[in-house]
C-alpha cells in the first residue's frame, strides 16, 4: 500500500532533527519571480500584500518546493527608517543613498515602531494571509536583518567598517537600537504566522569580518538577539564564508546555517553534523545560464555531499533567487531533487564527487 506523502512541514522538521525524511527538502527562495507570475512590475508586485500572497502560492504550486517565503526585499527595513529604496525592472529592490549621513547622527537615532510602519505592516499582512491559506502544511519563512548587518544599508559599508573599528561608542549605540528593532520585527512576523525567522547576517561572515572581531561583535549580538526571538531561526550569510566560525554560530541558538558556494558543502556538513542543519548552496548567479543537465548535476552533487543523515536542506547560496534565473532551471532543480533526493540515498557511494 502506497504511503501518503508527508507534508513539507513534516519533511523540514524531520531534517532539522538530523533524521532522514522521505526526501531532501528543497527551499527555493524566490521573491521577484512572483512579479513575473502575476505579469506586473516588481514595484507594483511589492506594493500590495495580496500580490505577494498570490505570487508565493503560485510559485509553490509551480516549483513544488517546501516553503513559503514571506520575504519582500532587504531594504524594506531601511525604508521603515525613512531610507530610500530603488526599484529596478530586473532585480530585487535595492537600498539607495544611506540615511545615516554622519556617524554622529546615531546619537539621536530611534527605531521605527513596527506596527505603525506601513511597509512593515504590509509584510505582516502578507504573512497572516499566507498562514490562513497554508496552515501548517509548509513552513512560512520570515526574514530579519541582523543588528550587526543592517548598518551596511543604514550608513554604507565603508563608513560602517570605519565606525566598527574607530568609533566604538557610536557603534555600540547603533547596535543597541538595531537589536530592539530586530527583535520587535522578528517577533511581529512570528505572531503574524511565520514559522521561523531567517536572520541575515553577512557582515558576521569571515568574508567580511575577522573571527576575532566577530567574537567581540556579531557573536554576542546574535546570542542576545536570537535569545529574544520567540521562535526558531536560521542564520544566513548571504554568500559569505562561515566555516571558520560555524562552531561559534552553533552557540548562538540558531538551528540552521545558510552556506556559501565558496565553501565545500561536505566540509560544512561534517562541521555541522548534530548541531546545525546546513542550508544551501546552489550558485544563484551561475544558475541564470545553467542547462537542465547542469542544474541536475549541481543538485545531485550537493545532495551527495550533504544529504546523508538528514540535517540538510537544498537551497541557493545567497538567500534569494535572481530575476534572471529562468523558470526551466528552477523546474529542473525541483525535478532533480525528486529524482536524486529520495532517502535512503543509496546511490551516493558511487557518485563521483
Amino acid at each position: 500500500m502506497k504511503q501518503p506523502e508527508i507534508t513539507s512541514m513534516q519533511r523540514v522538521l524531520t531534517t532539522l532533527e538530523h533524521k532522514e525524511p522521505d526526501r531532501v527538502p528543497l527551499l527555493l527562495l524566490v521573491t521577484v519571480h512572483g512579479a513575473k507570475e502575476l505579469g506586473v512590475s516588481i514595484k507594483e508586485y511589492f506594493s500590495r500584500a495580496e500580490n505577494v500572497v498570490e505570487g508565493q502560492l503560485r510559485m509553490r504550486a509551480k516549483y513544488r518546493h517546501d516553503c513559503i517565503y514571506g520575504f519582500f526585499y532587504a531594504p524594506i527595513e531601511v525604508e521603515a527608517w525613512g531610507g530610500e529604496v530603488i526599484y529596478p525592472d530586473d532585480g530585487p529592490p535595492n537600498s539607495g543613498r544611506p540615511f545615516i549621513g554622519r556617524a554622529e547622527a546615531i546619537t539621536g537615532l530611534e527605531p521605527p515602531k513596527v506596527r505603525e510602519t506601513g511597509c512593515l505592516v504590509r509584510v505582516l499582512s502578507a504573512i497572516e494571509m499566507l498562514k490562513s491559506k497554508v496552515g501548517d502544511e509548509a513552513p512560512i519563512i520570515g526574514v530579519a536583518m541582523s543588528p550587526f548587518s543592517l548598518p551596511v544599508m543604514q550608513m554604507g559599508f565603508d563608513k560602517y567598517i570605519e565606525l566598527m573599528y574607530e568609533q566604538p561608542d557610536l557603534f555600540n549605540r547603533l547596535m543597541k537600537i538595531n537589536e530592539e528593532f530586530c527583535v520587535e520585527w522578528a517577533n511581529a512576523q512570528l505572531e503574524a504566522g511565520a514559522t521561523a525567522i531567517c536572520y541575515f547576517d553577512p557582515v558576521s561572515s569571515t568574508t567580511i569580518t575577522t573571527r576575532e572581531m566577530y567574537m567581540e561583535t556579531g557573536f554576542p549580538i546574535a546570542k542576545r538577539t536570537l535569545a529574544r526571538i520567540k521562535g526558531p531561526t536560521a542564520t544566513h550569510m548571504a554568500s559569505g564564508r562561515c566555516l571558520p566560525i560555524v562552531g561559534d554560530i552553533a552557540q548562538t541558538g540558531t538551528a540552521i546555517i545558510g552556506t556559501s558556494v565558496l565553501e565545500d558543502l561536505a566540509e560544512m556538513k561534517s562541521a555541522c553534523t548534530g548541531n546545525l542543519t546546513v542550508l544551501g548552496n546552489l550558485n544563484g548567479i551561475e544558475m541564470r545560464r545553467w542547462t537542465t543537465a547542469e542544474a541536475e548535476f549541481a543538485v545531485k552533487d550537493a545532495i551527495a555531499k550533504a544529504g546523508p543523515g538528514g540535517g540538510f536542506i537544498l537551497s541557493d547560496n545567497h538567500g534569494e533567487i535572481p530575476w534572471q534565473v529562468p523558470d526551466d532551471v528552477l523546474l529542473s532543480i525541483s525535478e532533480a531533487v525528486r529524482k536524486w533526493g529520495k532517502y535512503p540515498l543509496d546511490w551516493v557511494q558511487d557518485h563521483k564527487k
Binding site: I86, P88, D90, G91, P92, N94, S95, G96, R97, P98, V152, G156, F157, D158, I161, E162, M164, Y165, T206, T207, I208, T209, T210, M213, S239, R241, P244, V261, L262, N283, G284, I285, E286, R288, R289, P322, W323, Q324
Partner: protein, 213 residues
C-alpha cells in the same frame, strides 16, 4: 639588514593589525636612499598584493582589506605627494560604481591603486548614460567598474554597447561580487578584463595598455 621578504611580511602584519604607528615607523625607517616610488613598489604594493591574495584564499577579511587600503592611501597622501609618487606613463583612468549604492569595493580599489602610485578619477556612483558621457569627455582610456548587484553587473553590457557605438576604444575592467560568483560573467557583458581583487588591477592595466604603465 632585514630580508625584503621578511620586511614585506612584517609590513603586511602591521596593516592587518591596523597598527598605523608601526606602518608609518616602518616606512620612515627605510633606507634614506629609497625614493618615495621605491617605498611604494618594494613595500606598500607587495604587502597589499599579499593581503589581496589572502582575501581570495579566505584568510583575510574584507574589512581588513579595506582598512589596510585606507591606511596605505593615507600614507601615500602624506608621505608621497602625487607629483613625486606618480608612476610614469599611466593610462588615463577612472573608477565608478554602476547603478547601485554599494561603494566599498570601489573604495578598496581606489585606495590600493592610489597607494600603488596610480592616479585616477573617482566618479562615485553613476548610471549608464552618465558614465559613458564622462569617460568620453575626460578622455579616459581605462574605466574600472564596480558592482554588487547582478542587474548592475549586467548593465555593463549597455555601457560597452554605447561606447562601441561611439567608436570608442576605452577598456573596461569590472569587479565585484557577481563577477566573483560567475567566472564567465565579465565576458558575457563585454568587459575587457575582470579583477578578482584590487591587487590584480595593476597587472591588468599593464596588459590592457600594452605595457604602458
Amino acid at each position: 639588514m632585514t630580508d625584503s621578504k621578511e620586511l614585506v611580511g612584517d609590513f603586511e602584519q602591521a596593516l592587518l593589525s591596523l597598527d598605523r604607528l608601526k606602518v608609518q615607523k616602518m616606512v620612515m625607517e627605510l633606507d634614506e636612499s629609497w625614493m618615495p616610488i621605491q617605498r611604494v613598489e618594494k613595500l606598500v604594493a607587495p604587502a597589499l598584493e599579499r593581503i589581496g591574495s589572502g582575501w581570495e584564499q579566505g584568510k583575510v577579511s574584507l574589512s581588513q582589506v579595506y582598512m589596510s587600503g585606507r591606511i596605505c592611501e593615507e600614507l601615500v597622501d602624506t608621505r608621497l605627494p602625487s607629483t613625486a609618487a606618480g608612476r610614469k606613463n599611466q593610462p588615463r583612468m577612472a573608477i565608478a560604481v554602476l547603478n547601485d549604492y554599494h561603494m566599498l569595493g570601489k573604495r578598496i580599489v581606489y585606495s590600493v591603486l592610489r597607494a600603488d602610485g596610480f592616479d585616477l578619477l573617482d566618479y562615485g556612483r553613476v548610471e549608464t548614460e552618465d558614465l559613458v558621457r564622462r569617460v568620453n569627455k575626460d578622455g579616459i582610456e581605462v574605466v574600472l567598474i564596480s558592482t554588487l548587484m547582478l542587474p548592475s553587473a549586467l548593465s555593463v553590457k549597455d555601457v560597452k554597447a554605447r561606447l562601441n557605438g561611439a567608436g570608442s576604444d576605452i577598456k573596461i575592467v569590472v569587479g565585484g561580487a557577481p563577477f566573483r560568483f560567475d567566472s564567465q560573467l565579465w565576458q558575457d557583458v563585454g568587459a575587457d578584463a575582470m579583477a578578482r581583487n584590487a591587487s590584480e588591477i595593476g597587472e591588468i592595466i599593464f596588459r590592457l595598455t600594452g605595457g604602458q604603465s
